[in-house]
């Protein structure tokens, strides 16, 4: 479980997040929605310790992780797939996957096999460099690399970016499936509100760094004002 309390982040004079609170629970997908510049990525980056907040607290279970180093947060079981996927192009697919396993004590061989079973396309091309993969395949690799350490929390930053609608739809189904199968706490940051709300259990809407709405995904999806003003959904 991730609990964010009254989080405030600023980059110099620019305030990126103001008094943001949210809770994400195991076995549930929590969507964080909002336009460009709403502070969605900053929220994930702060949870992972890449950005130091001005104020507020972040809990993993009962433990405050707010002042911890990024690598230690990762080792506690928080896997973060950054925007743009963070696949290292100069390494092979297998090397990328192996990197993911250092965050935990899992057996690398068994972990690799498990991911190759889940994502056969990666297994077939394990010795190839990542530059040979398509956008969707790179997202698969980024997901597999995050999952190999058997995390408790999965932070996904714009996984649908640059993917075809069909691929996005499959990806979202996969996220939901993984969330249920391993009782993962998933925080899904998306500009693509429609796709995210289709699978999310809970949702938070950010606007200019502040929470403007939160609740069940269903309630958010059915709120006409939110849809119109913040999510760019028309019907």
């Amino acid at each position: 479980m991730i609990r964010v309390e009254h989080l405030t982040v600023s980059y110099g004079a620019i305030v990126a997040l103001t008094d943001v609170s949210l809770e994400a629970n195991p076995g549930r997908v929590t969507a964080v929605l909002g336009a460009n510049g709403a502070g969605k990525s900053t929220l994930l980056r702060t949870i992972s310790g890449l950005v130091a907040p001005k104020g507020g607290d972040i809990f993993l279970g009962d433990r405050s992780i707010v002042s911890m180093a990024t690598e230690n947060i990762a080792r506690l079981g928080v896997a973060h797939v950054p925007e743009g996927r963070g696949v290292i192009h100069e390494l092979t697919i297998e090397e990328n996957l192996r990197l993911g396993a250092f965050a935990s004590k899992v057996d690398i061989g068994a972990g690799l096999e498990k991911q190759y079973e889940q994502f056969p396309i990666l297994g077939d091309r394990r010795k190839k460099y990542c530059s040979t993969l398509s956008g969707g395949e790179r997202q698969m690799l980024a997901m597999a690399r995050a999952l190999i350490s058997e995390p408790q929390v999965l932070l996904l930053d714009e996984p649908s970016l640059g993917l075809a609608p069909q691929v996005t739809s499959e990806l979202m189904n996969l996220i939901l499936e993984l969330c249920h199968a391993s009782n993962l706490t998933v925080i899904l940051v998306e500009q693509n509100a429609k796709s995210a709300l289709r699978i999310a259990h809970d949702a938070v809407v950010l606007h200019l760094g502040a929470v403007v709405a939160s609740g069940t995904a269903e309630a958010i999806a059915n709120d006409k004002n939110l849809r119109h003003y913040y999510l760019g959904l028309v019907q």
């Binding site: 890449l50 990762a74 963070g86 990197l99 965050a103």
Partner: protein, 298 residues
Amino acid sequence: MSQFLSSAMMHNIFAGLAQGVIYSLVALSLVIIWQSTHVLNFAQGAMAMFASYVGMTEIDRGLNYWLCIVVSVVVGLLFGGFTERVLIRPLYGKPEINAIVVTVGLLGVLEAVAQALWTSTTRNIATPLSQIYFHDQGRLVLLSPFVIFQFTLAIAIMLIVAGLFRFTDLGLQLRASALAPEVARLLGVRVNRMLTFGWMLSAAVGTVAAVIVASGSFGLYPSDMDGILIAGFIAAVVGGLDSPVGAVIGGLLIGLTEQFILSYWSADLAPLGGIILLVVALMIRPQGLFTKSVSRRV
């Protein structure tokens, strides 16, 4: 066969390669640091000289030559780690000129301290392996037991470094930390530790070069690595600062070029060999002969 080995051509090749492997090791050590921390370490030669002084003067206390090499390399390792932690770490994220100023400063300080501690008199180090060239039926072959050891040691170090980077978990984490530090952190890789380790490894490789230089005919003195660092730099740039293989080949090329100029033209012009190679390489392939040009799709 014997005529071939003692021909003028082979004289030049052996002598050029013997000098070239030293440049290769220095270039390799520069590339390791450049890859992991994007710092051009101008103190690389001086750090190696200092470590070799500490180790090799143990001979005075009766320590065996081989153990002195081990002591030098261990001192190099520790010195590299210490330098990264204390001097270089505060500079990450600052303008590149800061690191240049600090490493040039360190170069000056180390050479001055070495003079103060050990004087500037050249020390010749007695090596257990003979440095007298072989003779084959009265003809000189420009190889000695020590030169063969020098080749073997250099190749072994290169293979160890290559194997470490390519085949071990540690090497994978080192590469990831250099290629994408933020992603590596997100995956739980202790990137700061990797950067320290990169400096340690680099300093150790540089120290091996310094030990070979100190054991050779020019001996050990506080500025004994200055010219070699310049050649090593050129080798690294010619081969591509991102390419360990390029660094090694660049070093060998410079060694050979210098030797051929020395032999067929003039000894005074030999140091120009590297510069000529640099100019040519920058004209035809400025990114380095062995750099893979990586284009990213975003």
